[in-house]
């Protein structure tokens, strides 16, 4: 694919920014300072303007410096306001964000009036006109990026401690306040680096969205940092390429939409935390509960009458738990499919295999009842309901251990016999 010079610059810039944003964004995410980046981005504007007014040039370095200083001042003001007044953190962020930005806008319009005031050069810091990235900009980005990464690597474990338990860190004698300032400074650098590419409003997504996506896939901070950088970089690359190939698609927003899509996919599909898997697990659990309950009901009804041959009518079974016909059919279908129960016309009964299976379920239920009754001293008229609620989570091994701990009881608190364990059955 042939890339124009501009497109190539945008690609490099967006990828670099994505990687950096993801890295620092992970810390912001974990420290619950996601929106601090938003404030810092807005606060940088007056810094850029003042730097321009002082130096009179549009070269990146002094403008970066201006943005950096302003961002740092902004973050210090937020900290100070929260510490020394009753203003809460969210309001403090909102105040710094909007007031600094307002000052910046005033300065911008002031610059506009100047004879040489080609402030369209400064405008790009607002909206992110990635197409205006030049080689010099990229060089500055790369150098700053390398410095930021070096610091993160050097102070990795201290930053981890700062994010997790700063009080403990202080007690170890580590300078937690200074580390916090350092981390904030690195955040400001990344924000300033990103202003030109994605603009003020979207910076926060460059920081947080890849980090949030990465968090879904891993439980290790190191892996999260790498993954977040990777997702950020990939989103930057894909976004800038898409924006270059299709017409009238501004780069910043496309990058954000790409990383947001990655986030949504991550939320749904990530192995442990994925929402879809959680739903699947829930459904499986519900199914198992239904299955065990029906087995138990059939068993108990048969045991009571000491009759396994007579099948039970549908309405009768529905009455046991107050189920509708549909609900009962739903529970019965998998049993029938597995050969544990057989349906004869309008009735249902256990097969011999089903009876063995049901026996184990009842065994679990009754041992659990004994436990509740003896160890937790729940009265026997209460145990049945509580047992129902919890027994399905017990594994066979757990049941065996429980049985042993209880001294191999013969019957449950109501006097019903406890069926033996499956393997023993086979032996006898």
């Amino acid at each position: 694919m042939e890339l124009t010079f501009t497109a190539r610059n945008v690609l490099i810039g967006a990828t670099l920014l994505g990687a950096l944003g993801g890295t620092l964004g992970s810390f912001a995410l974990l420290r619950r300072q996601s929106l601090l980046g938003d404030a810092l981005a807005h606060a940088a504007l007056p810094g850029v303007c003042i730097a321009y007014l002082i130096t009179g040039t549009k070269s990146p370095l002094p403008l970066f410096a201006g943005a950096l200083v302003a961002g740092l001042i902004g973050s210090l003001l937020i900290l100070a306001t929260v510490r020394w007044s009753r203003i809460k953190e969210d309001s403090a962020i909102g105040i710094v964000l909007s007031v600094f930005f307002g000052v910046g806008i005033v300065l911008l319009t002031f610059i506009q009036k100047l004879p040489a005031g080609n402030q369209s050069g400064l405008d790009k810091y607002l909206f992110g006109q990635a197409a205006t990235l030049v080689e010099d900009d990229l060089k500055v980005m790369a150098v700053l990026g390398a410095v930021v990464v070096a610091f993160v690597v050097a102070f990795y474990k201290e930053f981890k401690l700062l994010s997790f338990d700063p009080g403990f860190g202080s007690s170890l004698g580590l300078p937690m306040r200074r580390l916090e300032v350092l981390l904030t400074l690195l955040l400001v650098v990344v924000v300033v680096v990103g202003l030109q590419t994605v603009g003020v409003v979207l910076i926060v997504a460059t920081l947080i969205t890849p980090a949030a996506a990465a968090r879904q896939w891993t439980d290790r901070l190191g892996a999260m940092l790498l993954l977040s950088a990777g997702i950020g970089a990939a989103s930057g690359a894909v976004g800038s390429l898409a924006s270059a190939s299709l017409s009238r698609l501004p780069t910043g927003p496309v990058i954000v939409l790409v990383s947001s899509s990655v986030l949504i996919v991550s939320l749904l599909l990530a192995p442990q935390r994925g929402i879809l898997w959680a739903r699947v697990r829930e459904r499986q659990a519900a199914e198992r509960i239904r299955r065990e309950n029906l087995l138990k009901d059939l068993y108990l009804l048969g045991e009571r009458k000491a009759d396994w041959a007579t099948a039970l009518t549908w309405p009768h079974l529905m009455g046991v738990r107050g189920q509708t016909g549909r609900e009962l059919s739903r529970s019965a279908r998998p049993l029938i499919a597995d050969g544990l129960a057989e349906q004869i016309g309008d009735t249902l009964r256990l097969t011999p295999a089903g009876r063995k299976e049901a026996e184990q379920v009842v065994r679990k239920h009754r041992i659990w009842e004994v436990y509740l009754n003896r160890r937790l001293e729940l009265p026997s008229d209460h145990v049945h309901r509580d047992a129902e609620a919890m027994e399905h989570t017990l594994s066979e091994l757990a049941v065996a251990e429980l049985e042993e701990a209880l001294g191999f009881p013969e019957s449950d608190p109501h006097g019903s016999p406890i069926p033996p364990r499956r393997s023993q059955r086979a032996a006898s």
Binding site: S34, S91, G94, I95, G102, V103, V106, T109, T209
Partner: protein
């Protein structure tokens, strides 16, 4: 109406509406949700524009209102899933929605007048000339109609739901137990935020709406402890910011919206430093006075504990005070006759012991 008057009126209406709604945002620690909504309504406005084909106010307000609710719902969705915390939920939702809006504009509305600059920081200076025509008659500046109506709506909302808003802000549990749903109030409030925001767009733009939503209420929060007073003060500060901002902008020939935010910030700073109840200076004074009172008391206590004459040299080390501070405290105590010198040391006088008793008892009663 002179153009200046129109601008001042529009600015004041916007400021007042934002101040009223924003007060509740600040109290509920949802200032940033307001910020998020002000950005996220963009796609709603664009879609309304694309559907109706013109920049009529009503569809845009509806579109914005819808997006406001959607934003809040999405944030809640992410937060409720427990895989993202609240601040992160906000931080991923509004940029995505804003990006959607920008892309829609760029692709489908770029040639039309719905440009980004205007949305981001508005242009109130055009307000007097952008008039509303209905059935051929010129009814006057559109911005005035729109923002005037919004202000009316906001006033009605706050008046009607004042009790519910107050209770659900300070004690959601109590609200629920009293029978009205705090969730409903929450969504109503957020809808009002969206409506206010879109009304203000044309005047001050998205980003500066946040200034009007957060800064005057925060200023009022530093000046009073009563909700009603806070609302009134917020409106006052907001209108002052609008008027002052306009004056400043005229003097410097600069952006009006930016100047308004600046003035709001200055007023906030003034309150932060000088508020008699919660300002920094007042607090420092309080601390200093308390420090002095406490220091004297602690020294007396120490003397009583030791029982006899205490050499001055040990006091510095024991209390961790600097020498000048120790001297200052001592001179005060000596002057009041609660402490007397004896050789190289100090001793508690009977009067000092008495003072200690009475204050000690008062403290004990107060604390336990």
């Amino acid at each position: 109406m002179s153009p200046t008057l129109v601008i001042l009126l529009v600015g004041s209406c916007v400021a007042a509406s934002c101040a009223l709604i924003g007060s509740f945002l600040v109290l509920r620690k949802m200032a940033l949700l307001g910020d998020a909504i002000s950005h996220a309504v963009l796609p709603g406005i664009v879609i309304a524009f694309l559907i109706t084909g013109d920049r009529a106010a009503l569809p845009m307000v509806l579109g914005a209102g819808a997006l406001g609710v959607i934003t809040v719902m999405l944030v809640e969705l992410f937060n409720r899933s427990r895989r993202l915390k609240e601040d992160a939920s906000i931080g991923v939702v509004f940029p995505a929605l804003f990006s959607l809006g920008v892309i829609l504009i760029s692709r489908y509305a770029a040639q039309v007048d719905l440009d980004l600059d205007c949305v981001l920081y508005g242009e109130i200076a055009y307000a007097p000339w952008d008039t509303l025509t209905l059935g051929g008659t010129d009814l006057g500046p559109k911005a005035l109609w729109v923002n005037g109506s919004v202000l009316l709506l906001v006033l009605l909302f706050v008046l009607i739901f004042f009790k519910e808003l107050k209770i659900s802000t300070f004690d959601a549990g109590l609200a629920a137990s009293l029978g009205f749903s705090p969730v409903l109030i929450h969504y109503l409030l957020m809808s009002m935020v969206s409506v206010t925001v879109v009304g203000a767009f044309e005047s001050v733009g998205a980003i500066l709406v946040v200034a009007m939503l957060v800064v005057p209420p925060a200023t009022a929060y530093l000046l009073t402890d009563r909700l009603g007073t806070m609302l009134g003060l917020a409106v006052g500060v907001g209108v002052a910011s609008a008027l002052g901002g306009y004056g400043l902008a005229r003097a410097w020939d600069a952006s009006i919206a930016g100047a308004m935010a600046m003035v709001a910030g200055l007023l906030f700073l003034a309150a932060l430093l000088f508020s008699p109840s919660h300002g920094l200076l007042a607090r420092l004074l309080q601390l200093w006075r308390m420090g002095r009172r406490l220091s004297g008391q602690l020294l007396l206590l120490h003397l009583r504990k030791e029982g006899e004459v205490v050499p001055v040299s040990t006091l510095e080390r024991r209390f961790g005070w600097t020498a000048p501070r120790l001297r200052r405290v001592l001179s005060g105590l000596l002057r009041s006759g609660w402490v007397e010198r004896e050789g190289e040391g100090l001793r508690l006088t009977p009067r000092g012991a008495e003072v200690l008793e009475t204050t000690g008892r008062a403290q004990l009663a107060h604390k336990l």
